[in-house]
């Protein structure tokens, strides 16, 4: 595994402007991903996971603005790029597996046509015949029959569609794929086989991935590193095993506790009291403090620092969990 960073996100801050005021959806988030590495972003819904995904592709609605920060993709900062430039980087360098695969395909074209158009846009030198061969190979790779290339989306089942979406994401040989809740809409068995498929492909193609999920179990299964998001901020970032064994932030701890473990030791399931904050008026200081069991005085005054706890383990907390 090379140590080169495929993507580096530095101090990313993104806001939505709404009628009622600005919503800070992503606040000062930093992380980087090496080639072949998979980063999992986990958190409750509305914590800014999907906003990060959309910011990485710069696929933002009109009312969203990246206020500051850098998104360095293959050594180039994407944030200042104009739309027309950015367009060329999408899919060829960074592609995405969408949350709602059901509607990710246009109903009036065959799935094959919709993948071909991506290849044609980004790899103009590939002939139509070669593109077709490539798609058939991708279909085999993701476990779809090559004949399905000429079928329309409504002829696919949910699981097949998700596989086709993955094939589409791979079609232009991107360096990094963002998978936003890739399996949430599927039933558990299909979910599992698709996750296995993705991890196998990722290893085989030595690709980087960003997984986004509210499901700790999914994240644990597929990622090498885990970032925990809370209310638009990243509160903890560490290698997967490390974070499961040694959570530092009280929120991470609660999150880990709220999922039952089949293989591990028996433990109490803890439900976190309270609601995530309203991002129109986020709480001062640490955004987690109103719900935090470890709250101390300065939590509602000062924003906690992003501190290195060794072993590539970072956390932002004034009063971390006791180690062990």
């Amino acid at each position: 595994m090379s140590t080169e960073n495929v993507i580096e996100v530095k101090n990313l801050t993104m806001e939505y402007s709404t009628r009622k005021g600005n919503v800070s959806a992503v606040d000062n988030v930093s992380f980087s991903i090496k080639r072949g590495q998979a980063l999992g972003l986990v958190g409750e819904s509305g914590c800014g996971k999907t906003s990060i995904a959309k910011s990485l592709l710069k696929l933002l609605p009109d009312n969203a603005m990246i206020q500051q920060g850098q998104i360095v993709l293959n050594g180039k900062d994407m944030v200042p790029l104009p739309e027309e430039e950015m367009r060329k980087h999408r899919w060829s360098e960074i592609s995405m597996v969408f949350q709602a695969a059901m509607n990710a395909f246009n109903p009036v074209y065959t799935v094959g046509d919709q993948i071909i158009e991506a290849i044609e846009t980004h790899l103009p030198d590939v002939s139509e015949k070669d593109a077709r061969v490539k798609i058939e190979n991708l279909f085999r790779m993701v476990g779809l029959a090559p004949e399905m290339v000429d079928r329309y989306p409504h002829e696919y089942s949910g699981g097949m569609r998700q596989r086709a979406v993955i094939a589409m994401a791979l079609s232009c040989d991107p360096d990094i794929i963002i998978a936003d809740e890739p399996t949430t809409a599927l039933d558990v068995i299909v979910q599992d086989s698709i996750l296995k498929e993705i991890t196998t492909l990722q290893d085989r193609l030595n690709m980087s991935m960003v997984y986004i999920s509210h499901d700790v179990a999914v994240i644990a299964e597929v990622s090498d590193r885990v970032g925990v998001m809370y209310a638009g901020r990243m509160v903890e970032l560490a290698d997967t095993e490390e974070i499961f064994i040694r959570p530092i932030h009280p929120y991470t701890y609660a999150l880990m506790q709220s999922f039952p473990s089949v293989t591990g030791p028996k433990r109490e399931l803890v439900a976190l009291p309270g609601e995530p904050p309203d991002l129109l008026h986020p709480p001062k200081g640490c955004r987690f403090h109103p719900r935090c069991p470890n709250r101390i005085e300065k939590c509602d005054q000062e924003q906690p620092e992003w501190k290195d706890y060794g072993d590539n383990h970072f956390c932002a907390c004034w009063n971390p969990m006791e180690i062990n």
Partner: protein, 395 residues
């Protein structure tokens, strides 16, 4: 798919039969009959009147009269016109049907296409002065009193613009304000108006078919040749036809006369339907732009134009196409008014004119033809939808 179309045709035929029976009963509800016209004539006795009524088949019971009417209709006998006695109704209507058909086809195609283009761009460039201007224009065209619009266009084009052009450039268009042709010109013509007009219609039909076939074929050839074939078919078929009419046919002058008479009615009718089509395309496009596959298309890094035309507009057109069933009847109502205002002798003007002189054989024929045209329109919309939406096509 064919069984679906077959089923639709049978359904429509039954609807048509029911409609004919209903109209017959409606006419029958009117007090008295045609022989009442003879009351004022002192030479005709009551017995004579009864005999005439019997001759005309007016004395039987209602069901048998309906049966006679229907069998006559389907053997091509639509009765005779009382006003232009003894000219058969079928003859009157058949000379006028192609005109009205052309008018509707041209206006429907144009307004659909223009409304689609305008609506597409308006939804894409949201907000601002354009949105206001277009909404106001759309609503105005949709709700303006049709005769008023027709007269405004007449005044604008045939009076103001025509005299402005002849004053400025010395070219005299002589844009006519009514009728189907200029009689003084046609006195020397080698063919009559309907013959030349039918050639024009065949030519128009051929152009539409060539473009349609080119469009279908273009989906099966390599992508980079597609624009050439599509644009080529349009340019060649239209250009070729123009050259033929101007230099080879020998009746270009007469064809031009017909075109001049067609121009304002088609413009009026197009504008009437254009507003509704534009507003509907815009709404539909705005809905489509919120779909997930539009975001997918953006994420794939497709160019703006491709996202707009290939992904958004292609789906946005579906509800607009379905709504054609309703806008069709608007267009036909508009056509009746337009033909009357321009004294342009098509089926619509015939309907109004025959009703106002109580020539009900002609009126019923015209009404039935209008019904048949609407039914054919509905059938075309249904079949077209099957092609436009693969979700229907498969099942």
């Amino acid at each position: 798919m064919w069984s679906y179309i077959g089923k639709r045709i049978v359904q429509m035929f039954i609807t048509l039969l029911l409609f004919q029976i209903a109209t017959y009963i409606l006419i029958d509800l009117q007090p008295g009959d045609v022989t009442d016209l003879l009351i004022g004539n002192p030479d005709i006795t009551a017995a004579e009147r009864a005999r005439i009524a019997a001759d005309l088949g007016l004395d039987g019971p209602l069901p048998s009269r309906i049966w006679t009417y229907l069998t006559n209709f389907y053997t091509g006998n639509l009765g005779v016109s009382m006003q232009q006695y003894p000219r058969p109704v079928s003859e009157i209507l058949m000379t006028r049907l192609p005109r009205t058909f052309t008018l509707f086809m041209a206006a429907t195609i144009l307004s659909f296409w223009l409304g689609y283009i305008a609506g597409k761009f308006l939804a894409w460039k949201r907000g601002g002065a354009w949105e206001y201007a277009s909404t106001i224009t759309g609503v105005t065209l949709f709700t303006i009193f049709t005769p008023l619009l027709a007269y405004i266009l007449l005044w604008l084009f045939a009076r103001q613009l025509d005299s402005w052009i002849s004053d400025t450039f010395g070219i005299d268009f002589d844009l006519p304000i009514s009728k189907f042709n200029t009689p003084s010109l046609w006195r020397r013509a080698p063919y009559d108006t309907n013959t030349v007009f039918s050639w024009m219609n065949w030519n128009f039909f051929a152009i539409v078919m060539i473009i349609l076939i080119a469009l279908i074929v273009s989906n099966y050839i390599p992508r980079r040749y597609r624009p050439a074939l599509r644009i080529g078919s349009v340019v060649l078929s239209i250009g070729g036809s123009l050259i033929w009419w101007a230099f080879i046919s020998g009746v270009g002058l007469y064809a031009w006369d017909i075109v001049k008479h067609l121009f304002l009615p088609i413009l009026t009718l197009t504008l009437i339907s254009f507003g509704g089509n534009m507003l509907l395309t815009r709404t539909s496009m705005l809905e489509t732009l919120r779909e997930d596959y539009i975001e997918t298309a953006r994420a794939k890094g497709l160019p703006e134009g491709v996202i707009r035309n290939r992904h958004a507009a292609r789906n946005a057109v579906l509800p607009v196409w379905t709504a054609l069933v309703f806008s069709l009847s608007n267009t036909i109502s508009g056509g009746i008014i337009t033909e009357t205002v321009f004294s342009w002798p098509g089926i619509g003007a015939t309907l109004v004119q025959s009703v106002s002189v109580s020539d009900f054989a002609v009126a019923m024929g015209a009404l039935t033809l209008i019904g048949i045209m609407t039914l054919i329109g509905h059938l075309i919309v249904d079949i077209g939808y099957v092609f436009l939406d693969p979700r229907i096509r498969i099942h």
